[in-house]
Structures are given as structure tokens and as C-alpha cells.
């Protein structure tokens, strides 16, 4: 105790805010990384990341690469959140949220107090109501989802070259899994309940060509077929009575948000924790990110929107940018299936019959024989939708135009085909006098003049014009010129 009070000119500085993150997956770990990059010394935010999986955070997007045998499970590990004011607790799960006390109970009996709670609990595989399938927590023998490393290990243990496998679900994950299994030699069938593959990302024509591409790889595709029954050791029976032989069944039929904790605590949920543009739930101290969240702008199911949400929430909780808002997903779907280049973005079905300058216009190219299909939708001079199957070059360019909201070039067909616009006329005449030796700026007219002045050998040309004296790359061209002019033919003599 001092006898004199300290000169209290400043109010006491509050300690770091306690932020508890439930979920140590791709989005939870990213959120921790984003917070630490904004608050590296832990002065503003103390983070505790809680992960049920004892493996630590790993890259779920790459599970098909493990199935394909191109990566080992341990190679999926994500960078560990680290730095002052960061704690990671793996192998423990939250059991309840006490919003009144701002406290989370964990299954090891301990509790965590929070100032802000971030739910990044992700989603679990959705199991359609099919006889004999089991559920995500207790799948029937031979059945697995492909959501986590445990699923991945189960699947690789069940499949070998030649194993018949059925993938239930013809969406992105199902097709990536199918291609990965097929690449390892499994005999794969895909069953999709919707009228066509990737129903949300493709139109019917694109899906038809995509199905043919898969068929050509040896994958049987059964769209608009509902599974009726799983018979372990036999296979999957379809609604038309057909039986698809299978030793293993991969369920890739969508996901269900893990929002039970929030719901039990009285937080508003509707197929996910309902959040606003601040990623905040009906409780202002509770936030949600990624697959467990439901934002009116969508985005669940893909990792990129979850990462964008993580950056926005990190801006808010660290105070780095109090104006940060999440404005909804700008989803770009890029199928990762070896040998198949498929991108889908923006609106898939467009009504371009409406007149007007700002009306949507589409360019469509369909080449079933070549397995290519392109549909580009442009509204007000900007890309608003695209389906690109087999256009790897233009897909990269179109995706960036879409992400940037940048104006598209005049030559829209050229953009779609990935071919540069025709050279403008002004670039033409210069070629009439082509640059032969770049190193020394020597044009063909100069070499012709040298020849007229008597240069008959490569050495003569080099001496008078310096052509060929840089990197030597044009020696071939100069020799060809001399040969064409008949140099070296003694009958022609030497000019004087």
C-alpha cells in the first residue's frame, strides 16, 4: 500500500477479452490465426480453442487426396494456433453453454468463462432415410461418411483396387470421392437423388456431359435414383429394384449443421446458428462461423466463405476494423477431380429472355463429343454466372473477373474459349519489319540493308548490324535469311 494514490490520469486498462472458440477445424483454426495476426502479443484477446478431435486441426478439404493415396493422413495437419494469449485444448468437447454466467462446460468436467463465444463446430454428414444405413454416429457395416480423418481411415481400410464401391450423392464431395476411389482402382458407382449431378451448381446440359466424362473414366453414374436399402455384404438397392454391388458405401448426401449446443442454450437456430452480418447470433456475445452457421447470404458447405467469415469476426473482436461485415458468399465451386476441369460460379439458371441493356446475356458452347461445356452469363457487363467444364484457361480468368466484379472484354466468346482477342490493327504494321535481334534492336530491314551493302556471311552481318552478337538466339534466323538470299553461292560473287 502506498500512502499517496497514484496520479490517476488514465482509467485502468482492461485485460484481454476472453474469447472461447468451440471447434478446432478449418474455420476455428483459421479464426485463431486471423485473431493472432491482428493481435500478435495477445494484448486484446485471449483465445482458447476447444477441439473434440484429438488429432488437432486438419485440412478436411484434402480428404479425397488421402483417399486417392496422394497424401498421408498426418499430412493434413493445419498450422497450430500459437502466440501469447493462445490456448488450444484438444480431445475435449463442450457439453453446455451457460449464457447467463457466460460459461462453457466441457466433457472433462472443467469450465471456461468467456467474454465472447465463437461456435465453429462445423457440420456432420447427413444420412438420408435409407433402410439399413444407420446414422452418422453409428453407420451400418460397410457404410461411412467422408467428413473426417476417422471416416477416411475407415474408407481406405474397406477399399482396395477392384473393390466395388457406391458413392451416395453426386455433389461436389461425392464426385471428388468417386474420382479419388476410381483413381485407386476401385469400381465406383455414383447415385444421385436429384435429376442430375451437382444439381445446385450445374445446369442439365453440363451435368449430362459431366456424367459422360465420369462414365468414360469407368465410374457408373445413376442420377435421379433414390437408394432404397443397404444390404451389408451385398450392395445398395435402388428404388427401381436394381442392386448395385458394393463392399463399401460412401455417404456424401449433404451435411447437417452441428447447432445442438446453441439450440439447447436457447440461441436461435434454423438448420444452423442464425447469424447476422457481424456473425453474431441471437445472443450478442455468441457468434458462429462456417458450416455450423446460417447466414442469409449462404455459404455453408464450402470452406472459403467460412474463412471469409473468420476474417470478419477477427476484425470485430480485436477491434481491428469495427466496420467489418460479412455480406454473404460469393461462392465459386471448383471440382477437384483429376483430369476433369470444372468450375461453377454465380447464378446457374438465368432467364436471359428479358430485354434491356442490363438484362442477363449468356454465351453457351456445348461440345459433347469433346466433353466440354461452357456457359457464361453476363449482366451489366459483369460476369454473374458461369459453368465451365473443360475450359481450364478461361475458368481461371473468368473466376477472377467474377470475384473482382471487373468488366468483361468485348469478345465474350473469346473470353469463354480462352483465346486472346484478335490483335488490334495497330499491332500489325510493325511486324512488316520484324525484330530479328532483340538484344541489339536489329530489325529485318536493317539486315536487308546490310546485305545490299555487301554483307554475305553471318560474321559480316554481325559486324555491320550487331545482330547475333547478344544471346545468339537469332543466329538461326540470320543464317536462314542469308540462305534465302543465296549467300554462299560463289557464282553470285560479292557485291562491292
Amino acid at each position: 500500500m502506498t500512502d499517496r494514490p497514484a496520479p490517476a490520469t488514465r482509467p485502468p486498462v482492461p485485460g484481454p477479452r476472453r474469447v472461447v472458440v468451440l471447434g478446432h477445424g478449418m474455420v476455428g483454426a483459421r479464426f485463431a490465426e486471423e485473431v493472432r495476426s491482428r493481435d500478435p502479443d495477445g494484448r486484446r484477446v485471449h483465445l482458447t480453442v476447444v477441439g473434440a478431435d484429438a488429432d488437432g486441426a486438419y485440412n478436411r478439404v484434402l480428404l479425397p487426396e488421402v483417399v486417392a493415396g496422394r497424401l498421408l493422413p498426418e499430412e493434413l495437419a493445419l498450422p497450430e494456433p500459437a502466440g501469447p494469449g493462445t490456448a488450444v485444448r484438444t480431445g475435449v468437447a463442450a457439453t453446455a453453454i451457460d449464457r447467463e454466467a457466460r460459461r462453457v462446460a466441457l466433457d472433462d468436467g472443467s469450465e471456461l468463462d468467456y467474454d465472447e463465444l465463437v461456435l465453429a463446430t462445423g457440420a456432420r454428414a447427413g444420412f438420408p432415410p435409407v433402410d439399413g444405413l444407420g446414422g452418422p454416429d453409428a453407420p451400418a457395416p460397410g457404410v461411412t461418411a467422408l467428413r473426417d480423418l476417422a471416416d477416411c481411415r475407415r474408407l481406405t481400410a474397406m477399399t482396395a483396387p477392384g473393390t466395388p464401391v457406391v458413392v451416395l450423392g453426386g455433389g461436389v464431395l461425392g464426385l471428388e470421392a468417386a474420382r479419388a476411389l476410381n483413381g485407386r482402382g476401385a469400381r465406383v458407382s455414383v447415385v444421385e437423388a436429384a435429376p442430375w449431378l451437382m444439381r445446385r451448381q450445374l445446369d442439365k446440359a453440363a451435368a449430362g456431359i459431366l456424367a459422360e466424362r465420369f462414365t468414360a473414366l469407368g465410374i457408373a453414374v445413376h442420377p435421379w435414383r433414390v437408394a432404397a436399402r443397404w444390404r451389408p455384404g451385398t450392395g445398395l438397392e435402388l428404388d427401381d429394384g436394381r442392386m448395385l454391388a458394393a463392399d463399401a458405401l460412401v455417404v456424401a448426401a449433404g451435411v447437417r449443421a452441428r447447432d445442438e449446443l446453441a439450440a439447447a442454450a436457447g440461441i436461435a437456430v434454423d438448420q444452423g446458428v442464425v447469424v447476422d452480418d457481424r456473425l453474431t447470433s441471437s445472443d450478442p456475445r455468441v457468434h458462429a462461423l462456417g458450416d455450423c452457421a446460417r447466414h442469409p447470404g449462404g455459404g455453408a458447405g464450402l470452406v472459403q466463405p467460412g474463412w471469409e467469415q473468420a476474417a470478419v469476426l477477427a476484425d470485430l473482436v480485436t477491434g481491428a476494423d469495427p466496420a467489418a461485415r460479412y455480406r454473404g458468399a460469393h461462392p465459386v465451386t471448383r471440382l477437384k477431380a483429376e483430369g476433369i476441369e470444372l468450375t461453377s460460379l454465380g447464378e446457374v439458371e438465368t432467364d436471359d429472355s428479358a430485354p434491356g441493356a442490363d438484362a442477363a446475356q449468356t454465351v453457351t458452347v456445348s461440345d459433347p463429343h469433346g466433353g466440354r461445356y461452357g456457359r457464361l452469363t453476363i449482366t451489366g457487363g459483369r460476369v454473374t454466372g458461369a459453368i465451365l467444364l473443360g475450359f481450364p484457361d478461361s475458368a481461371a480468368a473468368i473466376t477472377q473477373l467474377y470475384d473482382d466484379g471487373a468488366p468483361v472484354p468485348d469478345d465474350r466468346l473469346g473470353l469463354l474459349l480462352g483465346r486472346a482477342a484478335p490483335e488490334p490493327a495497330s499491332a500489325g504494321p510493325a511486324d512488316a519489319d520484324a525484330l530479328v535481334c532483340r538484344c541489339n534492336g536489329v530489325r529485318s530491314s536493317r539486315i536487308e540493308s546490310a546485305w545490299l551493302d555487301g554483307a554475305r556471311t553471318r560474321e559480316d552481318i554481325a559486324r555491320t548490324t550487331r545482330a547475333t552478337t547478344g544471346c545468339g538466339g537469332c543466329t538461326r534466323d540470320v543464317n536462314a535469311f542469308l540462305a534465302a538470299m543465296g549467300a554462299g553461292d560463289p557464282s553470285r560473287g560479292t557485291a562491292t
Partner: protein
């Protein structure tokens, strides 16, 4: 008539040439040498014109106020004035009130003596050089990975047998054309947002072009590492035997699957796969970086990402493969080894290392505790001039910062805030034009000296002609100033040979050890690559064959992550400007703009624009446009380039005044190397009415 065997004044390839002086005329002839093999580019061929440039400075000029014209004075008057002012400023504000700015164009002897002059005669920590704007990111990443920084750790001629060469941000067809003579047998993978001359060269030989959006090379390098792993191309035995840190680096690269990198870079994932296959195939594979990937606020991490890729493939430290950086300036290598960098002492020693300070102080005959510590980096130094706590006087040698520094408007303000600006140059450069004192010095072929080329080989540059009457050498100027500042005359010799002998002693035992570089053997044409210690006088053409230079002999992966450029485009500044070079000009253009043949070929600033982008801005091919960034604007003539990314424009930075590209550039600095972000500026194009 005398013939002198020497080297070109310009880039780090240091092409060999013979200068023949006859009756006041000097002619250039290429000379056989391993790097250029008897080739020269247009700059080399025309270099002798510099010796007779009509506006050559031959008399010191001086003004006593900060404005108005300078008047011709004698050398003693000029040096007395400068020394007197420096001493006065130092007495009033302290030693760090005087700053020195050097150059990667200076010889080894000048670089060395300049650093010594700053630390000993001026006692200032405030010295840095334009190599900070050039080599610093590659240097930092090289040191981090290998424990040493030599641009190419192998002779250029090793590239002759390459199967695959990845050129990341290097446009050698324009910047060092004779190097292409070593690349004709390889499949090239060129990483460049532009369809450069090097890309055209690569295409003719079945090469690949990857055109990332400027500022996204790091994501591309991470994706190529990702593909090396998923494609099974990683050399696991090599990783175990020779490297550390792969697992941590991989955790970051794991997050950059090619389809994700495609969205960020705009490079098709299919092209990344094709590149990864080429790289894995090799087996004689090289990864080389240039300024395109280095001149960023994340340049060090970007180079680290390319080195990580090279290490994962097992390339460095093996004959017939490797990683290297293509050094830019003529003595960009030697210039970064001998103590003109803010944190460095001769022999590539750290100024913060007590043992290094002891050693160098011993050679210099001063107490180690009197040596200042590390000073500000180049842009931070320029930005502090005339400000609170910043230097009040600046001495500039061999650099034209009024054209080559980033954010020129800001730099001009800082230069104007100085009490004293002194420039040593041989022509009235744009920086000299702002100076209070201009000291006319000898150039390239008028004095002897050594340089160290891009492969770490020490070369002799020879005097071919005497300097014009009235002109002194930089060494002479430093000698004269040092003596006037109270230093013993013998401590600052003006003879290059004497300085080189001292440099050898000062570098002995350091990473860049020149102790065994015998001038007679150099003169005889021996190929001496550093390190060349006194007891190993054969030099080291190839580094790392047995071990890397870290104490444990192992190379280190750096766990790097991609991050966005320092500034983003928006509706007001929707395009990305990137800067670079053309074949006909060198650096700030102070030399090449004075050579008629080069100036005729490329006479004025231009901006390359995709025709669609130009059309939207209402700009015809050949029209003048104003390119405007958040920092300033520059005027340039539009050149349509259909092969350019539509979101990117390109400007050469060789021009001055209203056409200076660096009026646009962003001085956001790399946290490690302090390299400014020259390669990414958000801009718009305006019509000039």
C-alpha cells in the same frame, strides 16, 4: 592505341569486353568469357558513348544556401565546405545526423571504403544503399535458408546442361540478354504477369508461361510445393539428410491446393500441374528468382517459398541443379558484402555480432565500441531525412534516388528538408540536380576496381582511359573528406589496390571471404568465386555441395504463408501497376538516356495496357495517359499489349520527372528485408486532354 580487357558498366552478368582507345575515341568489342561468351547487348555495345557524354561534369559546384544555382569551385573549396558543414551538423545534432547512401553500382573497393568512411570518419549508423531496393529480399531469404547469400551458388555455365529452369519474376531477355545463351537447352517455366520477351523465348523452346496477378507469386509457389508433395516429387531422403523444417512449411503449403491458388493468382490449375510435372521430371532442374517476385512487402517470404520448392525437390547443393537469384546491378553482389548496408560490416558480417565488430575494428585500427550499430534501411533512411531525429545531411554515391526510390513525391519532400545534400556523380543526374554540392567523379572505364558478378566471381574492371581533367575518383573524394574530418590519411587510401588489400583482410573469416583473392591471379584471368579464404585460394565455384552454411550444415525451410499486397484495388484505383525494365535502359536511366542510340530506340516513358482495358479508359494505342496512384501520378504513352493481364499495367522505371514510374510506387516495406513494394500499386488511367 591501347586495348584494355574489362567488363561492361551495367548489369550483374558483367559481360567481358575489350575497350580500344585511339585518339580520344573508345571502341567496344565483345570478349570471350564464360558468362557472355563473346556476346553483348545493345547497352554493352554502346557503353563507350558514356565516356564522351557532352554534359560530363568536370568541376565541383556548390551553393551555400539551399536554393538557387550552384557555382563552380575548386576541389579544395568544395571538400572544405562539405567537411566543414558535416562537422558542424555532427557537432550540433550528433553523428547520426549525417547519412550516406551508396550503390550496387560501386566497385568492391568503393563499397568497402564508403562503409568504413561512414562508421569511422563520420561515426554514423545511417548508411544504406540502393541494393536495398534490389537484392535485399533474396538476400534475406537466402541467408534464412542456406546461412549465406550468394546470388548464384554455381557458375552460370552450369545452366547450359539444365533440363528445366523456372524463372520467377525474371525477364532476362531484357535485363541480361546474353544469359539466354545459357538457357537455350532447357524447358523454361516463366512466372511473369506479362507476356515478356523471356516468355516468347520460352515458348519457342516448348516452355510454359504462368501469369499470376501481381502480388500473388507466393500463393503460386505454395501451390507448386503442394503439387510436388501430392505428385510424389519430394525427395524425402534429401529432406532427412540435408534439411530441417519441412513439416512446418508443408502445413502452410497444404492449404494451397492448386484450385484455391488458381482463384487467387489467376493461373489455371492445369498450368500449375504442367509446371509441377516439368519441375519433377528434370532431373537437372533450377529455380531462379528475380525482382518480379522480390520487390514486394512480402518479398522475403515469397523468395522463401520458391526456395522451399527447390529444397523439397532436392535441388540445392547438388551438381546439376539448384536455386539461385539473378542479381541485378553490376556489383549488386559485391556491393552487398562489404559494409555499405545498414546492418553489415565487410565480409558479409553482421554489425550486431560482437566478434565481427572486434575483427573489423581491429583491421581499421579503432576500438570496437566506437563502431555504431545498425542504422535505418534505405527507404526508412530517406523518409527520415530532415525530420525529427532524422539525418540533416546526406551524401550520395552512385545512386539516383530522385528516380529510383519508391513514392518519389515523398522522397523529394524529404530531400528538400535536408540542411545539406552532397552528390558524387559524373553527370547531372536528377538527384545531383537537387544537390547543394556536386562532386564530379570518374566513371567505369576511367579507374581500376573489382566487382563481383552474379555467380560470386570476382572480376577486374580496368582503367582504359584517364578521367577528364578536373575529375577525381570516389576513393579520392572519400580520402579527401576523411582527412578533413580529422582521420589519418593512411586510413583512407585512394588507390584501389591498397583498398582491396585492406578489404581482403577485413573480409577474412567472414561469410564472403576474399582473403585469398590475389590481384595477380585475378589479372591473369583466374576464376575466383568467394568464399576464397587465404588457406583455400582456389575459391568456391559451387557452394553447398557438402553442407549448407548454417552451423549445423543443414538448409532450413521457412514456414511462409501467402498474404495480400499492401494495397488493394478499388473503384477509384481499379488496376494494378507493376514496374520493370527494358533492354535499352539501365536503372534510373541517368546513363542510358544519355546514349543517343538507346534513347532513340526507347525515347520516352510508356505504359503497357491490355487493349480492352485501354478502350474502357478511352485510350487509343499511342495516346498519352496519366497513370494515377494514391501517392501520385505519372505521364506515359499507351502501348497496347494483348498478351498482358487485363487487370495489370506495366511501366518501365527508367524515366525521370513527370514520367517517373516511381511517383506511383508504394513504400510499404517487407518486415525482414525492408524492401519496398515496387511491383504492386493500385492505379487508374486518365485521359490527358
Amino acid at each position: 592505341m591501347t586495348a584494355t580487357a574489362t567488363h561492361c558498366p551495367y548489369c550483374a552478368l558483367q559481360c567481358a569486353m575489350t575497350l580500344t582507345a585511339s585518339g580520344g575515341e573508345v571502341t567496344v568489342a565483345p570478349r570471350e568469357f564464360p558468362t557472355n561468351r563473346g556476346g553483348l547487348c545493345q547497352k554493352g555495345w554502346t557503353s563507350a558513348s558514356l565516356l564522351t557524354t557532352p554534359d560530363r561534369l568536370t568541376t565541383p559546384t556548390l551553393r551555400t544556401g539551399r536554393t538557387g544555382p550552384r557555382h563552380p569551385v575548386g576541389w579544395d573549396t568544395a571538400l572544405d565546405h562539405v567537411a566543414g558543414r558535416l562537422a558542424g551538423i555532427r557537432a550540433r545534432y550528433g553523428a547520426d545526423a549525417v547519412a550516406v547512401f551508396g550503390s550496387g553500382g560501386l566497385t568492391n573497393e568503393k563499397s568497402y571504403l564508403l562503409g568504413k568512411f561512414a562508421r569511422v570518419a563520420l561515426g554514423t549508423s545511417q548508411i544504406d544503399y540502393n541494393g536495398r531496393f534490389c537484392m535485399s529480399s533474396a538476400a534475406a531469404a537466402g541467408n534464412r535458408a542456406f546461412g549465406i547469400d550468394r546470388g548464384l551458388p554455381f557458375p552460370v555455365t552450369d545452366l547450359d546442361d539444365a533440363d528445366v529452369v523456372l524463372l520467377a519474376g525474371a525477364n532476362v531477355a531484357e535485363t541480361m540478354p546474353p544469359l539466354l545463351g545459357h538457357l537455350g537447352g532447357a524447358r523454361l517455366i516463366v512466372v511473369d504477369p506479362r507476356e515478356s520477351a523471356t516468355v516468347e523465348f520460352a515458348r519457342r523452346n516448348g516452355g510454359l508461361h504462368l501469369a499470376p496477378r501481381p502480388g500473388t507469386d507466393l500463393a503460386l509457389a505454395l501451390a507448386l510445393l503442394h503439387l510436388a508433395v501430392t505428385g510424389g516429387a519430394v525427395d524425402r531422403d534429401y529432406l532427412a539428410a540435408r534439411t530441417d523444417g519441412f513439416a512446418e512449411a508443408w502445413r502452410h503449403a497444404a492449404g494451397w491446393w492448386p484450385e484455391r491458388a488458381e482463384r487467387v493468382t489467376g493461373v489455371p490449375a492445369a498450368d500449375m500441374r504442367a509446371a509441377a510435372e516439368l519441375l519433377a521430371g528434370g532431373p537437372k532442374t533450377y529455380v531462379l528468382t528475380g525482382r518480379g517476385v522480390e520487390q514486394h512487402a512480402k518479398g522475403t517470404d515469397t523468395v522463401s517459398a520458391w526456395i522451399n520448392l527447390a529444397l523439397a525437390l532436392g535441388l540445392p547443393g547438388r551438381r546439376g541443379s539448384g536455386y539461385g537469384c539473378l542479381t541485378g546491378q553490376g556489383n549488386g553482389q559485391g556491393g552487398r558484402e562489404h559494409g555499405q548496408k545498414a546492418d553489415q560490416l565487410p565480409g558479409y558480417r553482421s554489425i550486431a555480432d560482437p566478434a565481427a565488430r572486434e575483427h573489423v575494428a581491429g583491421v581499421w585500427g579503432v576500438p570496437a565500441e566506437e563502431l555504431p550499430g545498425p542504422g535505418r534501411s534505405a527507404f526508412e533512411l530517406l523518409d527520415a531525412l530532415g525530420g525529427p531525429g532524422g539525418p540533416r545531411a546526406l551524401l550520395v554515391f552512385g545512386s539516383n534516388i530522385a528516380v529510383s526510390a519508391p513514392d518519389l513525391g515523398r522522397v523529394a519532400d524529404r530531400l528538400a528538408a535536408l540542411d545539406l545534400l552532397v552528390v558524387a556523380d559524373f553527370v547531372e543526374s536528377e538527384t545531383a540536380a537537387l544537390a547543394d554540392v556536386v562532386l564530379p567523379v570518374a566513371q567505369w572505364a576511367e579507374e581500376d576496381g573489382t566487382l563481383t558478378n552474379l555467380e560470386g566471381r570476382v572480376l577486374s574492371r580496368r582503367r582504359a582511359v584517364p578521367p577528364p581533367p578536373g575529375v577525381r575518383t570516389d576513393l579520392d573524394v572519400l580520402h579527401g573528406l576523411a582527412v578533413r574530418l580529422g582521420q589519418p590519411a593512411e586510413r583512407f587510401p585512394a588507390e584501389p589496390a591498397a583498398v582491396f588489400a585492406e578489404l581482403r583482410a577485413a573480409s577474412a573469416g567472414g561469410p564472403a571471404d576474399y582473403a585469398g583473392v590475389d590481384p595477380d591471379r585475378l589479372a591473369a584471368g583466374e576464376a575466383l568465386h568467394w568464399p576464397c579464404p587465404a588457406d583455400g585460394p582456389a575459391g568456391t565455384p559451387r557452394l553447398f555441395l557438402d553442407r549448407f552454411a548454417h552451423a549445423d550444415g543443414r538448409a532450413r525451410f521457412a514456414p511462409v504463408e501467402h498474404r495480400a499486397p499492401a494495397e488493394a484495388t478499388d473503384d477509384d484505383y481499379p488496376l494494378i501497376a507493376t514496374t520493370g525494365r527494358v533492354l535499352q535502359h539501365y536503372q534510373s536511366g541517368a546513363q542510358t538516356r544519355r546514349i543517343a542510340e538507346l534513347a532513340e530506340e526507347v525515347p520516352e516513358p510508356f505504359v503497357e495496357v491490355h487493349p480492352d482495358t485501354a478502350a474502357r479508359c478511352g485510350l487509343a494505342d499511342g495516346a498519352l495517359t496519366r497513370v494515377v496512384s494514391r501517392r501520385g501520378g505519372t505521364t506515359a504513352r499507351v502501348r497496347y499489349r494483348p498478351g498482358l493481364r487485363a487487370d495489370t499495367v506495366f511501366l518501365p522505371f527508367h524515366f525521370a520527372g513527370q514520367g517517373a514510374a516511381n511517383r506511383l510506387t508504394n513504400p510499404a516495406l517487407d518486415p525482414t528485408s525492408r524492401m519496398p513494394e515496387f511491383k504492386v500499386s493500385a492505379v487508374r488511367l486518365e485521359r490527358v486532354t
